[in-house]
Structures are given as C-alpha cells and as structure tokens.
C-alpha cells in the first residue's frame, strides 16, 4: 500500500491479528505522518475527514460488521469530542496569529517574510526584547504553536466509544505500538537472516548498526515524542527491546527506525577547526592558542616551528616549575606528537597554582600543536585526552558543613 500524506482528520480502520497500525494524529497543518505499514489482511486506509468517515461507516452495507444500534451519543463522549474540536480550533487560531505576527516582525525588521527562518525570528526577538533572565525558557520567545503548546492526542475513540488504536486499552497505545513495531522488525530480520544462511551469503560487520556516537532518547524526550507518560519500568523495557533489535546481525536495515529513538552525541573537538599557522618575517610558522584553562589558571601558548626545543614560560625556562610532575605534563604533548626538540614553545601563565598552570600550558600546547601535525595524530591526541578541557574545579564548601564533603562530627547523642 502506498504511503499517503496525512490530511486533517484521517481515519484508520482497525486490523486484525495484532498487526497494528499506529498513527499519530497531529492536528497541525503541514505536518506529515510516519510511514504506515499495512498488511495484506488490512482494509484500505481512507483519507477522509472524520465526519465523512463516520458517515461512510454508518452507511456501509457490510454484513460482517453488524450495524451499531442507533444510540444517542453520551454526554461524556460529547464533551470529549467537543474538547478535541476546541483544541483544533485553538491551534488553528494560534497558527494564524503566529503567521500574522511573523509578517509584522518581518515588516519591523525589514526582512522578507517568506524566507524568514525560525533562527531569524529568534534573533529578532532577542534584539527587540533583551532579557537578563538566566533560564532560557523564561525569556520571551516567538515560535510556531506546535513547539510551544504541548502536543495533545486527538480523539482516541469514535463516537460509539470504539477506540481507533488496537492497543488503546493498554493505556499507552503509542508506546506498546512502538514495541510491537520493533518486534515486527525483529521477526523480519530473522527471516532475512534465515534466507541468507540458506543461500550461504556471508555476514559482515557492515550489516550491523553502530550505536556509538549516539545514545537512546531520555525518558522525558521519549514521553514527549509518544505523547504519553513513560515510567521507569517501561523505559527500561523500551531500551531492552531496542537494544535487542540493534544487536541483530542485520540491524543496519532498520537503521532509520532505530535512529529515530537515538540522539547523536555532539563531538565538539572533532568539529572544531584547526587554525592555520601564521608566519614570522623570517619564515617560521607559528600558532598561538589563547585562553587555555585548568582550574584557576589561564595560559597563552605560542608554538614556533621549526625550532630547537626551547621552552619559555613567563620568561623563565622550565625550571619555573619546580616539581617534576608539572614538567612531565608539559613534556607530554611534545613526546606524544614526537615534536620534542623540533618546536620552540613560549607560554605565559597567570593565576592558579603549579598544577593549574602546568595543566593549562599542556592543554594550550596540545591545541597549538594540532596545526603542525596530520589528522591521524590529531585524532590520537583526542583519544589520549590532550584536546579536552579539564572542567574539574575545586568543589565549593556547603553551608552547614565544614568542607565540600566533610560533614560535622557525628555524635551518637
């Protein structure tokens, strides 16, 4: 069955045998739904509005399906449908207001309303309404209503009280529908695996999904995605099921499905640009890294290449650091990149103590050395922990305690 674009009130028809279709009814305009799976046993999906669909069902001359008795719609049902309708109308109104507001804003900021992106809007609002509040969510914002108002599920059952989703009575239909889908995928993958074994096609590691670099959506985010409250046990279950699916040797085929529920861990160091060296009058290349930090110390490090292995810190030689550990720290990046004796290093360090200053110089030196070294070595440096800022600082003392962790002497009585 072909996929269809969701229209305003789409109706799903129930299927049998647990092959469930789940959809998310989104009331907003322009949102497209998820891909639907239909089985051979299913009835066709109709893209009708709710009222039309209801009428059709009423008029359908199908003997297998007994005609429901003409009952009056209960008050509760009425209220429920009214609520859904009100929500629809509310969102529609908010949307038109938003669109009008966009146009006004474009006018004020003399931007083109059609090509204005959400980023532009955010910048404009920040400019027009500067806020000193720390919490980003408390600051003035202007976003499309779907992003502001929490999504609500549309009518989950028809007027006769018959739920649309087959798993409605689980109380978390979307969640259990997701699990069922995962299981479906798993069974399919098993079948494919059997086929491959029968045909003696060999497996390789490319067929399995690589999960590193991403992590499962948090419980909160998953709840928002499925518009249902997920508790701890359910979350664990979700992770177990998805992990089981991901461990299948052919899991790369369902990569899209799995990655929907994972977020990528941003790797800033890899994304950061490596600065190109500047050149002195005599042709020597040099790179300066400023603002290297460790604890309370700041350091600026300049590396000149080619050099003779000189080292200057605050106009003193390495004997500025009297303890051997500090000196070893400074030597670490140089040994690691095998540039000891080939570069000249000049550093200035302020504030902090011995460890702080030497740690800052080490970080600055490593960051500066990236420019004189190939990509593979930069990656090695990153894995060695040289290119990561050490955020650890002295823990503050808490009130009512003598120290950061130390508690007052415990007395028996």
């Amino acid at each position: 069955m072909a996929t269809t674009m969701l229209h305003k009130h789409r109706v799903s028809v129930l299927f049998s045998f647990g092959r469930s279709l789940y959809r998310r009814i989104n009331v907003s305009q322009g949102e497209f739904g998820l891909q639907q799976k239909c089985s051979a046993y299913s009835r066709p999906i109709n893209t009708l509005s709710a009222s039309e669909a209801v009428a059709e069902i009423k008029n359908m001359p199908d003997e297998s399906r007994p005609m429901p008795a003409k009952k009056p719609i209960s008050k509760a049902m009425k209220a429920y449908l009214l609520q859904a309708k009100n929500y629809d109308e509310f969102m529609k109104k908010q949307n038109t207001e938003f669109q009008i507001g966009r146009r006004h804003l474009a006018n004020i900021m003399s931007m083109d309303a059609d090509t204005m992106t959400q980023e532009d809007i955010d910048q404009a609002i920040e400019f027009l309404f500067p806020s000193g509040l720390y919490e980003p969510r408390a600051r003035p914002m202007m976003k499309s209503p779907e992003l502001i108002f929490p999504p609500k599920k549309a009518a989950e059952f028809d007027e006769s009280g018959r739920p649309y989703h087959s798993l409605f009575y689980t109380m978390n239909p979307n969640f259990y529908g997701l699990l069922q889908e995962a299981v479906t995928e798993y069974v399919n993958l098993n079948k494919e695996e059997d086929n491959m074994i029968r045909k003696r096609i060999s497996f390789n590691s490319d067929m399995k999904i690589i999960l590193s670099g991403s992590d499962w959506l948090s419980q909160e985010k998953l709840s928002n995605l499925l518009i249902e409250q997920i508790d701890d046990a359910q979350y664990e279950q979700f992770k177990n099921v998805m992990l089981r699916l991901a461990e299948h040797p052919l899991s790369n085929k369902v990569k899209d499905f799995i990655m929907k529920y994972r977020y990528s861990l941003v790797n800033e160091a890899a994304l950061a640009e490596i600065p190109k060296p500047s050149y002195e009058k005599d042709g020597r290349a040099y790179v300066t890294f400023k603002g290297a930090r460790r604890k309370n110390a700041y350091a600026d490090v300049t590396v000149h290449m080619p050099g003779t292995g000189k080292f200057l810190i605050n106009d003193c030689d390495i004997e500025y650091f009297q303890d051997i550990q500090s000196r070893e720290q400074i030597t670490f990046p140089l040994i690691f990149t095998a540039l000891l004796g080939k570069v000249d290093v000049t550093a200035t360090a302020i504030q902090g103590g011995t460890t702080g200053q030497s740690g800052a110089v080490r970080f600055g030196l490593a960051m500066a050395l990236r420019s004189f070294v190939d990509d593979k070595m930069v990656e090695r440096m990153r894995l060695a922990g040289l290119l990561q800022v050490d955020w650890r600082t002295r823990e503050r003392k808490k009130p009512g305690q003598p120290g950061a962790r130390r508690k007052p002497t415990w007395k028996a009585r």
Partner: protein, 403 residues
C-alpha cells in the same frame, strides 16, 4: 668517532697512554655494551667520557666533560670532614669510586691560577650560579688542584652549618657581646690539620710572632705552626683564638713567601646575612658578625696579603628558607656590605650541562648502571631527560634516580 675523541683527550701523547695503562686496566672491565662505539686505534681502554688525567694540574680544555677519578687516599685526606656534597658522596659510595666531571668553571679558575703573578695581592674568585649547577663540585676540584700544588688549604666546606646547626654556643669570655662556637672551631681545626698534614711538618711554616693564650700558655715565635693547631684542638676554650692566630700567621707566611695559601669557602654570603640560630645567654638572636668565628674567615678574604688565592661561592641556599632572595647573582646575595668587602673579584659562573657534558654524564650513568631503564639510553629518552631536568646536574641526578 670514539677513537678521535680519545686521541684528542690524550693530546696525542702515546707515552702518557703507556704510563697510565696500568692504572686504567681496572676501569676497562666496566666498559658498557649498550651505546658506546668501540674504541678503535688506541690502546687506551678507557671510554671516551673518562679522562686519563687524574691530576687536576694536567687538566685542560680538551678534557672538558670527561670524568676523572679521585684517589681514595686523597679523598680521605681532603674531604673527610666535608667538601664533597652529600648526595654526590652517596653516589660515590654506590659506585665505589669518586669520579668528578671536569667542567669549564674549574678549568677557568685553574687556568687563571697558573698564570697569576703571586707577588700581587691574593685574587678573589666568586663562584655563582643556579642551584645544582656545580659550585661545590668546582670548589672540590680546585681544592684538589691546590692540594697537588702544595698550597696550604684553608677550607670551609659549608659555612652556614655553623650558623644553622651550631654544635654548641656560649658567650665569649674575652669579647663583649660576642658568642663563641668552641666545638665548631675545634672541628674546623681538626679538618685543617687533616688536609694539611703533609705540609705542617715543613720547617718553613713557623710562627712569626708570639701568641699568648693565657698567663702560662704561650706559643713563641719560631715554633711550628702545628703547635697553634694542636693548642686549639686540645684547649677548647682557646680554639677560636687559635683560628684567628692561625689565619693571621698564614697571611704573614704567604707574604714572606714561606708558603702559598688557598682559601676555599662555600656559602660565603652567610657571613653578611642578618640571622643565625645562635642566641646569647640572654636568648637574643644574633647576626653572624657577632659570632667570633666569622671574623677570621672574613679577614682572610681581604686583599691585604699576597701569594695566595681566595675562592668563594655564593648560594641562595646558604640563607634560611624564609630569607632566600631568589637570585643567584653575587650582588644580590652578598648585599651591599658583602659586595663592598669582596669587590674587586673575578666572577665565575657555573651553568647547566652543555649538550656534550650531558651526553657524557648519561654515558657515565649508563656505564655505572645508575640508569637501568633501557628507554633512557635511546635518543628520545635522552631528549626527554634533557628537557625535564633542563640539563641541570643536580636535577638530572634526581630525575634518573628512580629509573
């Protein structure tokens, strides 16, 4: 390569090789396997970092960086009561030999001394340098030279010991306001006697004037100098007076050309500092100038005598930790008073190892098995050691200790 440097060390003198070959055979068994190129044309079995010349008078700039061995008997005579730094001494006990590196500052001083006109006033040399660069070692080297050339040795191994860890102090009976260090004075006299035992028998060294210690004890003119020394050792009460007398006599005797004196004082700047740990009977802390033992040694470093040399070192470690001045230059360490006193002097700077000296030192350590870690013998290992220790001799020792 190895053959060339050994040839240079010998100054092309094959006779010296033959003469020294017997002494040197013992050392040949310890030639290391690791990184040394084999000695080629020469019959000399010593590795390139060792010098054949064990006599400081024969040391020249082509020996620079090489290690020479001090005979145990000479070491016992010269350094029994101090003179060789403690850490280095422990190392010598471990290696079962006392081997010192021949370095530029010592060669410079010895060079000057060889070409000095001893008719002029005694020249004063001031050794200065950062901590661990080899001031005390240079002094030990020069002391050995002086010993070989029959100088009378006036040697204070580490002057601050008297003021920081005095054995016993008491108010001076004769001079008011001054404090005596009787036992330290006796210890020094014993040290003097030990170092100059071969010279004190010389009939030339006789007292120039009468010295009256008390009504009954007089050392008459013409008596051997050793008598003053014995007097001081036996009569603790007069030990400081004996030192004063002794040093005055030495000045006069040197002037009369009956002997030549070399004065070697380590940590000279303590004499011009403000503090000591010594207290009067009234528990008042006093500066060094109120200690009786200070004045004879300050006096002998004056320029009012000839036929001698004065080698003095200034060190920040001489001061108490709180009073350290974080400088290694003579002007800063001596202060205005001390500088006035010592001026004019020849300043000699001791520096960290040069690349060649560092290389020789590492080779020596490898040969003596001080460095066991095989990485230290490699090119990268040496670079790393040089960087971390900044080629400072003392630091290098500390860094290589656990390796």
């Amino acid at each position: 390569m190895i053959g060339k440097s050994v040839f240079r060390a010998l100054n092309g003198k094959q006779e010296v090789v033959k003469r020294c070959s017997k002494i040197v055979i013992r050392a040949s068994s310890t030639v290391p396997q690791m990184s040394l190129p084999s000695s080629s044309e020469n019959s000399n079995p010593l590795p390139f970092f060792r010098s054949i010349q064990n006599s400081p008078s024969l040391h020249a700039s082509n020996n620079s960086g090489q290690f020479y061995t001090i005979d145990p008997s000479i070491k016992k005579q010269l350094f029994l009561y101090g003179g060789i730094p403690k850490t280095f001494d422990e190392l010598c006990n471990t290696f079962k030999e006392t081997c010192m590196m021949i370095r530029e500052p010592a060669l410079e001083i010895m060079d000057y001394m060889k070409s000095t006109n001893f008719n002029n006033a005694a020249t004063r040399y001031c050794l200065y340098g950062k901590i661990g660069t080899g001031k005390s070692m240079t002094m030990a080297h020069v002391l050995h030279y002086g010993f070989e050339n029959s100088f009378v040795i006036v040697h204070v191994p580490w002057a601050p010991y008297w003021y920081k860890f005095p054995k016993e102090y008491s108010d001076c009976p004769t001079k008011e306001g001054m404090v005596d260090l009787p036992l330290d004075a006796v210890a020094w006299l014993i040290h003097f006697k030990n170092q100059n035992s071969h010279l004190l028998a010389d009939p030339n060294l006789s007292v120039c004037q009468d010295w009256e210690w008390s009504k009954r004890e007089i050392t008459k003119k013409g008596a051997p100098l050793a008598e003053i020394v014995e007097m001081g050792i036996n009569r603790v009460k007069y030990s400081t007076n004996c030192i004063e007398a002794l040093l005055q006599e030495l000045k006069q005797l040197s002037d009369l050309k009956r002997c030549k004196t070399i004065v070697v004082i380590d940590g000279f700047n303590i004499f011009f500092s403000d503090k000591t740990k010594i207290k009067t009977a009234a528990f008042e802390k006093i500066p060094p100038k109120r200690v009786t033992i200070t004045s004879p040694f300050v006096d002998i470093t004056k320029q009012d005598w000839s036929n001698g040399a004065v080698i003095v070192s200034v060190d920040d470690l001489a001061f108490f930790r709180k009073d350290q001045r974080n400088t290694h230059y003579p002007r800063g360490l001596l202060g205005p008073e001390g500088f006035e006193h010592l001026d004019p002097f020849i300043p000699i700077e001791t520096k960290n190892y040069s690349e060649k000296e560092f290389h020789y030192c590492i080779e020596y350590f490898l040969e003596r098995r001080w460095i066991i870690n095989p990485h230290a013998a490699s090119e990268e290992g040496r670079k790393e050691l040089a960087f971390i220790s900044n080629r400072n001799p003392f630091n290098l020792l500390k860094v290589t200790a656990p390796l």
